[in-house]
Symmetry: C2
DNA sequence: AAGCGTTATGTTTTTACGCACATATCGGTT
DNA sequence: AACCGATATGTGCGTAAAAACATAACGCTT
C-alpha cells in the first residue's frame, strides 16, 4: 500500500509555543533544554547536548524564570563542582503538559493529512 | 469570573505549514496570499494588501507552483490590463483544507489552555 | 590561597535577511 | 508604434540575528 505523505516527501509540520507580551518564552527549544538540564544537572552540559551556545541557553533560562511566577530552573555558581543547574517541580509539570499537547496536535495532523493529496 | 489566559497575558500560539525537502512552501502567509489574489485578480495588489513586497509575493507563488503537480496560481503578463493573476480550483481546495485544520488546532489549544496555570 | 568547573556577561565578527531601488518584459489598446 | 499596467528579475545597502571569542565571578576543595 502506498502512503502518499511519505512518497511525495511533503510533510505537514507544526509548532506550539507560549508567549507573553509579544515575547516567546516556551517552545520546542526550552522544552528540550529543561529535559537536558534535568539529565545533566548542568546548564553548560545541557546546552552542549543541544548544540546550543551556553549564552543562548542561559538567556532561555532567564526568559523562562522571568515569565513564571515561581522559578523553573535554579542555577548555582561556585562550590564543589563549580556550580550546577536543576529544574523545579513546576518545570516538570510544564514539560509534561507541553508534551501532551504536542502529542494531541500530532494525532490531529496525522488524521487530517490526506488533504495533501490535492497537491498531486 | 476571571479568565486566566487573558489576565496573565500569556498565550498559547501555534503555526502549521507544509514543507518538502526542507523547504516550507505553504503556511499562513501563502494561505492569505492566495485569498488576496482571488479577491484582487492581481499579484501586485494582493501583495500590497498584505504589506508584502511584490518580489516576496512572487517568490511565494513560484514555490507554491513548484511544489504542486498542478499550478495553484496562473500569472499572465501583458494584455489589456497589463496582466493579472488568478488561483486555480486546486488552490481553493487547499485554502479550505488549511483553514479547517487551523480551526481544529485552535479548538484543541483552547480546550487545553488551562495548563498555563502552572506558570502562576 | 590556589585550583577547578560552572555560572555570568561583555565584545567582536560573521551571516542572513529584508527592503528599497532600478530595469526589463510582455501584449492588448488606442 | 506608442502607451499602459502588471509581471519578471537583478543589485546593493542597512539592520538584525546568530555565532565566535574573551573574560569575570563564584564558592567549595585541597
Amino acid at each position: 500500500m502506498k502512503i502518499d505523505g511519505a512518497l511525495m516527501g511533503k510533510e505537514i509540520k507544526f509548532k506550539i509555543w507560549i508567549e507573553e507580551e509579544e515575547e516567546k518564552f516556551y517552545g520546542p527549544g526550552p522544552n528540550q533544554l529543561l529535559k537536558e538540564i534535568q539529565n545533566e544537572g548542568s546548564l553548560s552540559k545541557a546546552a552542549g547536548k543541544m548544540n546550543l551556545s551556553y549564552k543562548k541557553a542561559w538567556e532561555m533560562v532567564q526568559r523562562l524564570n522571568h515569565h513564571s511566577e515561581k522559578p523553573l530552573v535554579i542555577l548555582k555558581k561556585g562550590g564543589q563542582h563549580g556550580g550546577g543547574a536543576e529544574v523545579t517541580p513546576h518545570a516538570l509539570k510544564i514539560i509534561e503538559d507541553y508534551d501532551i499537547l504536542q502529542k494531541k496536535m500530532k494525532e490531529l495532523v496525522e488524521q487530517q493529512h490526506e488533504f495533501l493529496k490535492v497537491l498531486n
